[in-house]
């Protein structure tokens, strides 16, 4: 072999791209997690947030169509982050969006079906905040639950709308830093945790009363 051919051959050995099967393997965790949950995403997510075992059968309590809706949104949460410990920086935006959708169903079921109460509508359609305000108006533990959800909702609004600041008389978008996101994340997870534990206790109390 001529020197120049050999040199070209030797140079061709480096720089190979990573094979697809290796990339598929390294990214398989979330997929494997979801496959392993037997479609019980909302159960997994709730246990993860509250850090406790669920005291009752969630699917049975929520029933159709609330369970299916909550479960789908919980799956989205898990696709963003396998556990709440993995939420970092701006991920909290989309995670909160899906988590709120998941747990709003809990509130709707509790207020409308368990309690048989109707929620006052502010506008023509039912808004999330109507349910939160309904709970806040009731006082006690329910007020705390409503207030926590409202706080989460308000933080989510910050994510969804452009935050602006004025520079030289012109309003410009304000960047949300990762550390700010992480602070909000801690607040959001804590609000969810307190509310869900409190809601579970209320549901259990109601169940024991009725039995």
């Amino acid at each position: 072999m001529k020197f120049t051919e050999l040199r070209n051959t030797m140079q061709s050995f480096s720089g190979a791209s990573t094979p697809d099967y290796q990339l598929a393997y390294i990214t398989s965790e979330v997929k494997d997690l979801l496959n392993g949950l037997n479609n019980q995403f909302i159960e997994y997510l709730t246990k993860d947030i509250t850090n406790t075992e669920l005291p009752f059968n969630l699917q049975q309590w929520l029933g159709s169509p609330y369970y299916q809706s909550s479960n789908e949104n919980a799956k989205d949460c898990l696709e963003y982050c396998p556990t709440v410990k993995h939420i970092w920086g701006r991920k909290i935006k989309s995670w909160t969006d899906s988590a709120l959708k998941s747990y709003d169903n809990f509130l709707l079921k509790y207020v409308q079906i368990d309690k048989g109460e109707s929620v006052h509508k502010t506008y023509s359609g039912l808004k999330e905040t109507d349910v939160y305000n309904h709970l806040i108006a009731k006082g006690g533990v329910e007020q705390e639950i409503g207030q926590n959800f409202k706080s989460i909702y308000q933080i989510r609004s910050v994510f969804q709308h452009i935050q602006a600041e004025e520079k030289d008389g012109i309003r410009v978008p304000k960047r949300i830093s990762n550390s700010q996101c992480n602070k909000w994340r801690d607040v959001i997870i804590q609000c969810f945790k307190l509310s869900l534990i409190a809601l579970c206790n209320l549901i259990l109390e109601d169940e024991s009363k009725s039995s």
Binding site: A16, Y21, W88
Partner: protein
């Protein structure tokens, strides 16, 4: 290109056998463990694709991951970790050559003791259909070494040889010329030209050091097929020496010949020298000598061989395989296939293993007493190597790494066995002596750190290991073992972890950087530090380093971020 040969060498069954054999390679550090898991996650599909790629001529080897292992001389040995697909190709070629050459090589079993093929290799992929297939490529090294030792002892003590000629080959693996090796494979073992062409390209891709290639010269040290090829290159020499009735013993490139006159051995020396020179190799003149054997005192070679067999990993090959498999990721059926079915023959296990001495004892009290005696022996013998109240050796001329390895292996085995029965603590008083050995005999670090794990959490050890890591800038493998020992045996504050991150930034060795990434990933739950680590990892030039680090990251679900995102961030 003739497809026929390629189909024979690279049909999926032979590649599957190659895969199982790679899992059984005994040296942990030269195995692409990430690749083994990634490839094995969908083994049949990946084997089929690789087979098709090879047969259609679309396969191309990659440069390998290289690192340096220190030797007692202070120089370093280049070790090679082949990417899984390359390792499969190499092992698949070796499978066919082994099957073809088994009978020829078996004729030399009483002369050649290093890297001897197992009888199963003769049957090729057929063994996949056996009820209890065993996938080891070579017989267990320790039993071969014992046979080698016993044969040499017989030649000197029983047969009363009067002269000995001992030599080895300078930089054997790194100096083998591809042309001569391939010619030997063609001439003596009928390896097809198209396979030799492919092997030539592969060896060029895998040859050389981390920094540079050495086209045409050198085979990778670490992968098992290289040991077969090295033996095959010396096969014609073996045949010639055996046919002339020399008392000839070879353990890889370590050659020993015994005779009854100096002139007889001088002739052998010239014969070997000529053969090696004709193949681009040379005998190591510093280690070559013809000497008269003094019957009145114990021969130095025998003395050395008797001490030597304690060297090597104290874990059995089976334990090494289980540790590879237990890292997860493989299909269950592959784990089932490999676990328990790849045992070495019982008779091939270490005959001197202390465990053998108590295998017939069932009374727990007697077993405990036995191991306590072993521990107590070491606790007496180790300090006796030193002057009283000092870390100065009593007899520095006659005390070396082997003495410490023997004691370290004995102590570690006893502690491990005793811990199955009762709570046991390693003696803190021995710690300065182990540290002495670790520093003085740095090339044996992998042996000593196994014993140091029994001092988990010891502050003095932690401080000393950090000092060693900082002080030694020469030997990357040494630093790798030190950092790995630090990772798994101690806890760290945020301040300490940030200090280790600074070490990572200034570290040149990819092997040590990997160990430092693992340490930081394992111990840091600080989001900011993890974020900084991700940025640092994304800047790495070596994709393999990125992949194996991500793989480590992935194992700890508390620290893992969504892998999809990480992979993108790494630019993979």
């Amino acid at each position: 290109m003739s497809e026929k040969a390629f189909k024979k060498y690279f049909e999926t069954e032979n590649l599957k056998l190659a895969y199982y054999r790679i899992v059984c390679w005994p040296e942990r550090l030269v195995k692409d463990r990430f690749g083994i898991h990634a490839f094995g996650a969908h083994l049949d599909k990946n084997l089929k694709q690789l087979s098709e790629k090879l047969i259609s001529g679309d396969y191309f080897p990659q440069r390998a991951f290289k690192y340096y292992e220190p030797k007692s001389s202070g120089t370093q040995r280049t070790k090679t970790l082949l990417m899984i697909e390359d390792a499969l190709v190499y092992q698949a070629i070796a499978n066919v050559i082994a099957s073809r050459s088994y009978d020829l090589l078996a004729e030399n079993d009483d002369f050649v003791y290093g890297s001897v093929l197992t009888p199963d290799t003769k049957n090729g992929p057929e063994i996949l259909n056996q009820e209890n297939p065993r996938y080891f490529f070579f017989k267990f090294w320790r039993s071969l070494f014992v046979r080698f030792k016993n044969s040499v002892i017989k030649a000197i003590e029983q047969d009363k040889a009067t002269h000995k000629f001992e030599t080895d080959i300078t930089g054997f693996f790194d100096s083998i010329p591809h042309y001569n090796l391939l010619l030997t494979l063609s001439t003596h073992f009928n390896v097809e030209d198209e396979i030799l062409d492919l092997l030539s390209v592969c060896l060029n891709a895998w040859s050389g050091t981390k920094e540079s290639s050495t086209p045409g010269v050198g085979i990778p040290q670490g992968p098992q097929p290289s040991y077969l090829l090295a033996n095959l290159l010396l096969y014609p020499l073996d045949k010639q020496l055996i046919s002339e009735a020399f008392k000839y013993y070879r353990y890889m490139d370590d050659i020993k010949i015994y005779g009854y006159s100096e002139s007889e051995l001088r002739n052998v020396l010239v014969l070997i020298d000529n053969y090696l020179k004709g193949n681009g190799l040379s005998i190591n003149s510093k280690k070559t000598e013809i000497t008269a054997i003094d019957e009145a005192k114990e021969d130095e070679t025998i003395k050395e061989l008797r001490r030597f067999e304690v060297i090597g990993n104290e874990y059995t090959s089976d334990e090494a395989i289980i540790s590879v498999l237990s890292e997860g990721g493989l299909e269950n059926n592959i784990i089932k296939t490999l676990l328990g079915l790849s045992d070495q023959s019982p008779e091939e296990h270490d005959e001197n293993d202390a465990k053998k001495q108590i295998e017939n004892i069932t009374d727990p009290d007697k077993i405990i007493a036995f191991w306590e005696r072993e521990i107590s022996d070491v606790e007496k013998e180790l300090p006796s190597l030193f002057k009283i109240d000092s870390l100065e050796l009593t007899d520095p001329e006659n005390t070396d790494d082997i003495d410490f390895i023997r004691l370290s292996a004995k102590y570690g085995t006893a502690l491990r066995s005793l811990s199955e029965y009762k709570q046991v603590n390693a003696s803190v008083e021995l710690l300065p002596y182990w540290l002495f050995a670790l520093k003085k005999f740095y090339w044996r670090a992998s042996n000593y750190v196994l014993t140091l794990q029994y001092y988990k959490g010891n502050k003095m050890l932690k401080a000393e290991l950090i000092n060693i890591h900082l002080a030694d800038r020469n030997y990357e493998c040494y630093r790798y073992h030190i950092v790995t020992c630090l990772t798994y045996n101690f806890e760290y504050s945020d301040k300490e972890l940030r200090m280790f991150f600074k070490y990572l930034k200034s570290e040149n060795s990819e092997l040590v950087r990997y160990a430092l990434y693992c340490m930081l990933i394992k111990h840091s739950d600080d989001q900011q530090l993890q974020s900084t680590l991700r940025v640092e990892l994304s800047k790495e030039l070596n994709s393999y380093l990125k992949l194996i680090t991500l793989d480590y990251w992935k194992r700890d679900t508390h620290h893992v971020n969504t892998m999809n995102e990480l992979v993108k961030q790494m630019g993979l």
